[in-house]
């Protein structure tokens, strides 16, 4: 039976939901608006909200000062590369853990997750030295590798949860029907797991795109992605709010659009297994 909710209560909860929503969205909106102001208007007190001289000058200046497309391409290569490489490793691992678990499978999964709880800065120095000695510093390959490793526990966990939902009997039926392991994976497992693989892919692209600690510390000029591009505007030369905002808007726009279009898939992937 549906709960009987009074109109007054509905109004209050609606208002509260909108307030929270706006509070969360406000910084993004403010960044977006500031990117169209002049530097003077950006730091004006009291601040202007909508009524200022709209200008796109910041965007041109940001593009001329630091090459946006070079950083954009680095971000694309690093986020997609690390996610695809991660999936390549995680799919067989998650299959094995979900369908042929051993005595310590749960422990291995917990251990993998526990590595995410370690402060990254704790391993920064050894990793930095390893990168320096192997020539991986400031290379896309190096960043792909490190982001793959950073996000691998999440990829394995997401796929594992998803695969656990696939009934084992269906795979057994395929085996009875004469499918070899390869055919079982190609014709039965993969098509059934595609929604799960897709949401894992999307979430990890977003995570890798937004990752700032390792990308800032292990890149300088050549491999620097959009996170480094934004950071370069909060520099010792002084803060340029309008330009920083323009750079931020340009950096988050692609991933915001991707997230917007794939939100249904993402919600499905993240809540999978939560309700039957």
């Amino acid at each position: 039976m549906a709960r009987n909710v009074s109109t007054q209560r509905k109004l209050i909860t609606t208002a509260a939901a909108w307030t929270i929503g706006i509070l969360i969205f406000f910084p993004i909106l403010w960044t977006f608006l500031t990117s169209f102001k002049t530097e003077a208007q950006a730091i004006a007190s009291p601040p202007t909200f909508l009524f200022f001289d709209w200008t796109v000058e910041n965007y041109f200046e940001v593009q001329s000062r630091s090459d946006y497309f070079k950083h954009f391409m680095n971000s694309v290569v690093i986020s997609f590369g690390s996610t695809l490489l991660g999936l390549l490793i995680a799919i067989p691992s998650a299959w094995a853990m979900a369908f042929a678990p051993a005595k310590r499978t749960k422990d291995v999964l917990m251990w993998m997750l526990s590595t995410k709880m370690m402060p990254p800065v704790g391993v920064l120095v050894p990793l930095y030295l390893m990168f320096r000695n192997t020539g991986l510093l400031d290379t896309r390959a190096g960043l792909v590798m490190v982001l793959t490793l950073i996000n691998l526990p999440i990829i394995v966990w997401m796929l594992y949860t998803y695969f656990k939902e696939i009934p084992g009997e269906i795979l057994e039926a395929a085996r009875m029907d004469g499918a070899s392991l390869a055919k079982e994976i190609i014709y039965v497992l993969t098509p059934m797991a595609i929604p799960g693989i897709a949401s894992t892919l999307l979430l990890n692209i977003i995570l890798a795109w937004n990752e700032a600690f390792w990308t800032l510390n292990l890149s300088a000029a050549r491999a620097a992605p959009l996170t480094a591009f934004i950071a370069s505007y909060s520099s010792p030369e002084g803060l340029f709010y309008a330009k920083l905002s323009a750079a931020s808007t340009m950096a988050i726009a692609p991933i915001l659009i991707l997230g917007w279009f794939s939100q249904k898939q993402l919600v499905r992937g993240l809540t999978f297994g939560a309700v039957k």
Binding site: E172, R175, D177, A179, Y187
Partner: protein
């Protein structure tokens, strides 16, 4: 040819022996039902034959060849699962064609065989639907279709009807029996429902705690149960058991009388009792009688026998149909 022989087959999960050791011969073309309570090892035994579980010891011989170490696909068996286990992303056609595709058959052959199977199972109009668009009974038919197109040595059914409602279960039971008569292929059928076992089987294997209690035709088990377990498990309602003085009169530790072998009278008889609950089915009435000094007994009488709660009745066992058991629970013959 689809004869199957189990020689000393055992299965243990860790230290827990699910099946201590089983020997069994299944002849070509037989309809064999494994029946027993939950956890008796019947599904495990079926999965061992299928090759979905590895045996811990012993040998499985299929059609004269040792198949103990063969993978499931190489054993020439088809299986129908309790959950149907259809491929949700494939159409009915795709599901039925899948085993043929795995065998590398030509498209023309596949199309013909799928069409034939669909006709036999009344699925022709549903070939392009996805499993989620079908009813439970139709899904079960697709699972059977997927099993028959391979023309296997034997079919394995793992409680295939337990997800269906009662009416559909009766229909599907009949359809599977008819299919067996048409195909004349060996079928091994696992169920916990003794009615399914009695109505479908040529041979019933009664299992309890991983051991075979008795093997025989349905009527053999009904008329000549080897022990108390089989006597109690086969037949519905359950056989009544009486120990003590009434059993001693028959030179037995325990005697068993089926509800249909108790004669009821309102005037005289061996045991006096009071009617507790009367279940009227129309044609028959099941009476639960509290017999003096014995306990509750179930009697099956004609639906015309007028009796209600609280009435006094007399029960007399048919002396020809009294089953006698010794103190170990084995039948005395």
């Amino acid at each position: 040819m689809g004869s199957i022989t189990l020689k000393n087959v055992s299965k243990a999960f860790g230290a827990h022996a699910v099946i201590p050791s089983i020997d069994l011969d299944i002849d070509d073309g037989e309809f064999v039902v494994f029946v027993g309570p939950s956890g008796c090892g019947k599904s495990t035994l079926l999965r061992l034959i299928a090759g979905l579980e590895d045996v811990s010891g012993g040998e499985i011989v299929i059609d004269g060849k040792n198949a103990t170490d063969l993978p499931p696909a190489k054993r020439g068996l088809s299986m129908v699962f309790q959950s149907y286990a259809l491929y949700p992303h494939m159409s009915v056609r795709g599901n039925i064609a899948f085993p043929l595709k795995m065998m590398g058959e030509d498209k023309a052959v596949i199309d013909k065989k799928v069409a034939d199977a669909a006709r036999v199972l009344n699925l022709t109009d549903y070939l392009d639907r996805k499993p989620r668009q079908l009813s439970g009974g139709q899904r079960q038919r697709v699972a059977i279709g997927r099993a028959i197109v391979r023309q296997p040595e034997a079919f394995l059914f793992d409680e295939p009807l337990s997800n269906l409602d009662a009416a559909l279960r009766v229909n599907m039971r009949l359809e599977i029996s008819q299919l067996h008569q048409q195909l004349k292929t060996t079928m091994i059928y696992v169920t916990h429902d003794q009615v399914e076992a009695m109505t479908m089987a040529d041979k019933i294997v009664v299992l309890n705690r991983g051991r075979i209690e008795q093997v025989g035709s349905p009527l053999e088990l009904y008329h000549r149960p080897d022990n108390l377990f089989v006597a109690g498990f086969i037949g519905s309602p359950k056989m009544n058991f009486v120990s003590g003085a009434p059993a001693a009169m028959h030179q037995a530790h325990t005697i068993g009388v089926r509800p249909e072998h108790l004669v009821l009278s309102k005037e005289r008889g061996t045991w006096r009792g009071t009617v507790g609950v009367a279940e009227h089915l129309g044609s028959d009435t099941f009476l639960h009688v509290n017999a003096d000094g014995i306990g509750t007994m179930t009697a099956r009488v004609s639906g015309d026998f007028a009796v209600t709660h609280g009435d006094q009745v007399f029960l007399t066992p048919d002396p020809q149909r009294v089953h006698r058991f010794d103190e170990t629970g084995m039948a005395i013959r």
